[in-house]
């Protein structure tokens, strides 16, 4: 079997031209979904039972059914009603792109809300008590203590959710958005070379997801400098070196690194 590199390069370029559409879907649904998720979490954690129940119902609806059926419901289903076709929302609900973003955002909001809730509930109780006993107001408590800690706890699961969302944007091709998967199908209809085109598309998605995971891992490491082991102490247990070598290593470290502020 010989590989047609010209065709592969050509396909890759054509698919990369559709990458902005995929990224546009991803970023706009992430922003909209993230904002909606904050509202849902606030409702979910509210002591008022109607708000609480409403949020639970939302989570059940959007986490319990497949995204594809939600997307079709938004794109095809809502148009069944005359009232919506005459309302000011119609230009938004008529366009495939905004429908795809809307359904992706509604779906990811449900999953993100649960992730944020998990992060908030993982904040140690002692930290909240300490902050309150220092006389912090509820808002300062949220901004200074609960928010940053919850964000750090939530980031690993959130990166999984972003990857899932990036993969879900492929479904937008089924409601006639020309994203990467849609363009891949277009190329296949012209050339009938199914495997090569789909493998190219899959490779681009893989690289995209790899970059997302790396970027969020970097952010997580950046936000939690206190959990990083100090270099001088970390050298000892992780490395199996002979005692002479380790002594040299330590001596080297103490020479090159004067005592920093954080050590005092």
């Amino acid at each position: 079997m010989n590989i047609d590199f010209d065709f592969l390069a050509d396909t890759l370029l054509k698919l990369l031209a559709a990458l902005p559409v995929t990224l546009g879907l991803l970023v706009s649904s992430l922003i909209a979904g993230g904002l909606l998720a904050l509202v849902i979490v606030a409702m979910r954690l509210s002591p008022l039972w109607p708000l609480n129940r409403l949020a639970s119902g939302y989570l059940l609806l959007f986490r319990g059914s497949p995204l594809l059926i939600q997307m079709f419901l938004v794109y095809y289903g809502v148009a069944q009603f005359q009232a919506i076709r005459e309302s000011f929302l119609w230009p938004l609900l008529r366009a495939p792109f905004s429908c795809a973003v809307l359904s992706l955002a509604l779906c990811t909001a449900a999953y993100t809300a649960e992730i944020i809730r998990g992060g908030l509930q993982a904040v140690p109780h002692g930290e909240i008590e300490a902050a309150l006993s220092c006389g912090m107001s509820r808002f300062t408590l949220l901004r200074r203590i609960v928010g940053p800690i919850a964000l750090r706890y939530a980031l690993p699961s959130y990166s999984t959710e972003v990857v899932l969302l990036a993969k879900s944007t492929a479904l937008a091709s089924l409601v006639t958005v020309w994203d990467m998967t849609g363009v891949a199908q277009q190329i296949i209809q012209k050339t009938y070379r199914t495997m090569e085109v789909f493998l190219c598309a899959a490779a681009i998605y893989l690289v995209l997801n790899f970059l997302i995971v790396r970027a969020l891992a970097w952010l997580e490491a950046k936000l939690s400098p206190h959990t990083r082991a100090r270099r001088s102490t970390a050298a000892e247990p992780t490395r199996a070196v002979s005692s002479r070598e380790s002594n040299e290593l330590q001596a080297g470290l103490t020479r090159s690194e004067p005592i920093s502020d954080s050590d005092l």
Partner: protein, 240 residues
């Protein structure tokens, strides 16, 4: 009542068809889960292997099948499997194009995806088994196969149960994507119903409601199973 008639079980209604499609979705997902369990166990074993090359193969599998969109993987299997089967059949002298049944393609495609997720679940479950138990079992003279059968597997199944519940929910939702191959499972049947009645909203809501019914019922079942399994974990030495 119009709504009652089209969703009902009469000759004009889609009720029976939708329920049969729901059954098809359940059997498709169960088959996919079984396929995924076999693949997942093998990939988990590869990822836990002491040989680096084997580990890399396992890592590559989970990275690819968790990183590429499900829709693309299903397309690849749908178009790729028929081509592959035809090519293999041609080697044995068969002629013409052989298409693979949509159910098999769907079950294998979703199974391959769920296998990648199940591998992670099994790997974590194996690592959760205290190494002391294995050592103790070896120390009293159990053979390796007996350690697997009596000590490792029972605990791995218990630890893996919550994760398998999640994978089941994922696969159930992935199975809706099989509708692109034309297999008349729940999603595809809802689509056909909307096409023939032009009641788009009604039938997508009906289909969605059936999916929610499936996910919440299976959630109950898994919760029940987890509490049952949890019972054996809480039983301590001191209590007996």
């Amino acid at each position: 009542m119009n709504l009652y008639r089209i969703l009902g079980f009469g000759t004009q209604g889609w009720g029976t068809v939708l329920l049969l499609a729901t059954l098809l979705t359940v059997s498709l997902t169960l088959t996919a889960l079984a396929v995924g369990a076999v693949i997942g166990a093998m990939v988990a074993a590869a990822k836990l292997s002491s040989r680096r090359s084997v580990r890399i193969v396992g890592e590559a599998y989970t990275t690819i099948f968790r990183g590429a969109p499900e829709l693309l993987i299903i397309y690849l299997f749908y178009f790729g499997s028929s081509n592959a089967v035809t090519a293999v059949a041609r080697l044995f002298g068969a002629e013409g194009f052989i298409s693979v049944p949509a159910f098999a393609v769907g079950a294998i495609a979703v199974g391959v995806i769920s296998g990648a997720y199940q591998a992670e679940v099994y790997r974590a479950a194996v690592l959760a088994v205290p190494p002391g138990e294995i050592e103790a079992a070896r120390a009293i003279g159990m053979s390796l196969s007996m350690v697997w059968r009596r000590v490792l597997i029972p605990q791995v199944v218990c630890y893996a149960l919550p994760g398998i519940g999640n994978v089941w929910q994922l696969s159930l939702k992935d199975s809706a994507l099989i509708s692109v191959t034309g297999l008349a499972e729940l999603m595809r049947t809802s689509q056909i119903a909307t096409g023939s009645t032009h009641q788009y909203f009604t039938f997508y809501v009906a289909g969605g409601a059936l999916y929610i019914l499936l996910t919440s019922v299976s959630n109950r079942i898994f919760n029940h199973a987890e509490t049952r399994v949890g019972r054996s974990f809480r039983q301590t030495f001191a209590r007996q």
